[in-house]
């Protein structure tokens, strides 16, 4: 069974159709990059998959559990209780990280496992320390977000998502808020996660990054998926004119 199955998703804002009938599946262990120019609908697509935005119609299912179905052309969401469970299947690392400023690094990572998952504090903190060690942040456990660099904040945001033990993690533009030299750092972290078979969907407009990190690349434009396949196919030998135009523009 696919970890995530999206079928025929449509979404409009004020009559302006942003997502036009999009379908996609994510298999366990896959690392997928969604590429596309700004305004292509890739961020809206990510927000729909993570339930931050509701779809107008279509289907979204995590591990076969349906979060959204469509009845008579209208999207119907699962019950509150079902949605709470379905939402535990995925995590999201925000473009601007959205760490909680009033919690320390340790607090940011452990607050939700303790208060949402109701797990014992000792156990959660022990795991958090291991995560911090893995991400090279052991020294920063008691720091507050404002005391961290951008790269450190991002690693804390990743640790926070991992602490909820999700089956997959979404990344919204993970390199855009960072200095270019930090791209290698985040690439290293994502590769380590990929090596551990973490399923990841990364929305980005950085071609080199997408090629370096992903198993599969999806190219979106104008609210539809134009082309998808291995990085070698889509990025190096694009078959579609629009993909070529975007790649050319981005490499200028």
């Amino acid at each position: 069974m696919s970890l995530l199955e999206v079928k025929n998703v449509k979404k409009s804002f004020d009559g302006n159709e942003v997502l036009k009938d999009i379908s996609m599946t994510v298999e366990k262990g896959e690392v997928i990059s969604i590429l596309g120019p700004s305004g292509s609908g890739k961020t809206t697509f990510l927000r729909c998959m993570t339930m931050l935005e509701t779809v107008d119609s279509g289907e979204i299912a995590y591990s076969g559990e349906k979060a959204v179905t469509t009845v008579d052309g209208k999207a119907v969401y699962a019950s509150k209780a079902d949605m709470r469970r379905i939402k535990t299947y995925f995590g999201l690392v925000f473009q601007s990280f959205e760490l909680f400023p009033h919690f320390s690094v340790m607090g940011n990572i452990t607050d939700a496992p303790i208060h949402v998952m109701k797990r014992p504090r000792d156990e959660v903190e022990k795991e958090a320390r291991e995560l911090l060690k893995k991400l090279g942040l052991s020294e920063r456990a008691d720091h507050y977000p404002y005391q961290l660099s951008g790269g450190q904040k991002q690693r804390v945001a990743i640790a926070r998502a991992l602490a909820m033990d999700p089956q997959m993690i979404f990344f919204d533009e993970p390199t855009s808020a960072l200095d270019p030299e930090l791209t290698a750092e985040i690439l290293k972290v994502l590769r380590e996660l990929a090596a551990e078979k973490m399923t990841m969907v990364i929305v980005t407009h950085e071609i080199a990054f997408a090629r370096a990190v992903s198993d599969r690349v999806i190219f979106m434009d104008g609210g539809v998926i134009i082309e998808q396949g291995s990085p070698a196919d889509v990025i190096d030998h694009p078959s579609n004119e629009r993909t070529r135009a975007f790649l050319k523009k981005m490499s200028e």
Partner: protein, 499 residues
């Protein structure tokens, strides 16, 4: 001011002439009066200041060629007004008895007595029935003096001791509002005022036994015999030609007028020396003032903390209502906020205190006065706090809500664990401003005669004829706010662990 003109004239020997002389002096004569003291001086339905005393003053000025200035004053501040020369005399059903040494007096022109007014239905028929009742007088009035002053008779002191409470109000209108609403059982006041009030309102009785008799005169600044003599001369003229009685008839006071030529002027008016305690406040005075004010300070501090205790949480509920998805609730709350932010707190206190009786006919007890203060302050401050909370909540990033949603927090957890701590940090400067304002606003409780520090400061200032209590009260407010500022700075520092 007339005093300077008089100083120039003082050398003149014609001053004490027995022959009535019409002076065509180009000067003003400023009469200080309590504008809520009918029929002697008050604001009539057309908004004019009228009354028996003002008519007399008008007539005197006409005969003297002076220009009359009718200056309504706060009764508690009458001595300050007179001492600073803001007014030339107090002419306003002004009782001589017990104040002989404090002013230069005209001869008495009205014999007044202090009587008790009760509701017809009260079952009170003599002062003895007042035992265990709440009795109300005007602050620094003759009735108060007759009951508790240094010259009060033992009988009156015993009577006063038998009351459940002797409450003081700023003016007679408040006294009758209190009587009406049941907050007090009886009002002690001047007979002339009593007869006027009982006639113009329904359902009241003047008890037949007065608690004291007394006389009214015109009070001038101690030592200002020149001006007193001029005014008195004109009054005698008016008495001779019948004008005085005509005016008395007009105000239905003919039965109590007692103006007589050659009547003995009040005791020590020839003594031009100021009373010794006016030489300046002594250490004893200061101790006395501080002791009195500290009692009021306890009440002020009580208002302050109880208002915060209730208004801070209520404000949060109001803020939720204001941001509710429910259109009806949202608009009701919006109306509430706009009314309480858009009208004076003093008015709100009056409405809360008197509203239950005038709107719903519910008689209120004396203990309601304090409750009304707390309710009024809480409703007012909750409206301000609500808007501060709302801005604080709205200044938390949308991304914070989304992060909490992704992590699975419930809406309640999200508010308590994520939004609230950030909101608190955001709003501390605005809350500090409001809390500092609250310290000073506690003084507005005087509007419904609650004895907090400022009310007492004004009373002590009036009784001691010095402005010092007001400055001491000001110092206490200042110190209070210094403490508030320090505490808020401490909280702000505590919250600076994050940005």
């Amino acid at each position: 001011m007339i005093k300077r003109m008089l100083a120039a004239l003082a050398a003149s020997a014609v001053m004490m002439s027995a022959v009535p002389v019409v002076y065509a002096e180009d000067m003003t004569f400023t009469v200080g009066f309590d504008a809520e003291f009918p029929p002697y001086g008050y604001k009539d339905d057309s908004g004019e200041y009228v009354g028996f005393d003002l008519d007399l003053a008008e007539e005197v000025c006409k005969r003297r060629g002076w220009e009359l200035v009718k200056q309504p004053i706060d009764w508690n501040s009458k001595d300050l007004e007179l001492e600073t020369g803001a007014i030339d005399c107090i002419w306003n059903g002004f009782t001589i008895d017990g104040r002989e040494d404090e002013y230069t007096w005209s001869v008495p022109y009205v014999d007044n007595s202090q009587v008790v007014v009760v509701k017809d239905s009260s079952g009170i028929s003599s002062p003895a029935d007042l035992a265990g009742k709440v009795v109300c007088v005007q602050a620094d009035s003759s009735a108060l003096e007759a009951l508790t002053g240094d010259d009060a008779t033992d009988e009156n002191k015993a009577l006063c001791a038998s009351f459940a409470e002797l409450s003081q109000v700023g003016d007679y209108n408040s006294a009758f509002l209190n009587l009406d609403s049941g907050a007090v059982d009886a009002v002690c006041l001047d007979v002339g005022v009593a007869n006027y009030e009982v006639k113009s309102r329904k359902g009241y009785t003047v008890l037949p036994d007065p608690i004291s008799s007394e006389k009214y005169g015109v009070g001038f600044l101690k030592g200002n015999t020149e001006l007193r003599d001029k005014v008195q001369e004109s009054l005698f003229e008016m008495l001779d030609d019948g004008t005085f009685m005509e005016i008395a008839d007009k105000w239905e006071l003919s039965s109590s007028v007692c103006l007589e030529k050659n009547a003995a002027v009040a005791a020590s008016d020839t003594d031009d020396e100021l009373p010794s305690d006016d030489d300046g406040p002594t250490a004893d005075d200061l101790i006395y003032i501080c002791r009195e004010l500290l009692e009021g300070l306890v009440s002020s501090v009580g208002i302050f903390f109880l208002t915060l205790l209730f208004a801070l949480p209520l404000g949060l509920l109001v803020a939720f209502g204001r941001m509710s998805q429910n259109v009806v609730l949202r608009n009701i709350v919006r109306l509430y906020i706009s009314i309480f932010r858009g009208t004076p707190l003093m008015l709100q206190l009056l409405v809360v205190f008197f509203g239950p009786y005038y709107v719903f006919g519910i008689s209120t007890s004396t203990s309601y006065r304090f409750m009304a203060v707390i309710i009024g302050f809480t409703l007012n401050y909750a409206a301000y706090f609500a808007e501060i909370y709302r801005s604080g909540i709205q200044s938390v990033n949308k991304g914070q809500y989304e992060a909490a949603q992704i992590l699975g927090y419930t809406p309640q957890q999200r508010f308590i664990r994520i939004v609230f701590p950030q909101m608190v940090k955001n709003i501390i400067p605005s809350i500090t401003n409001e809390v500092i304002t609250l310290v000073k606003d506690t003084s507005l409780a005087f509007a419904i005669s609650y004895a907090e520090m400022f009310t007492i400061a004004k009373q002590v200032a009036a009784a001691e004829t010095t402005i010092l209590p007001l400055f001491v009260a000001g110092l206490f407010y200042y110190i209070g706010n210094a403490v508030v500022a320090a505490v808020m700075a401490y909280i702000e520092k505590k919250m600076s662990y994050f940005r």
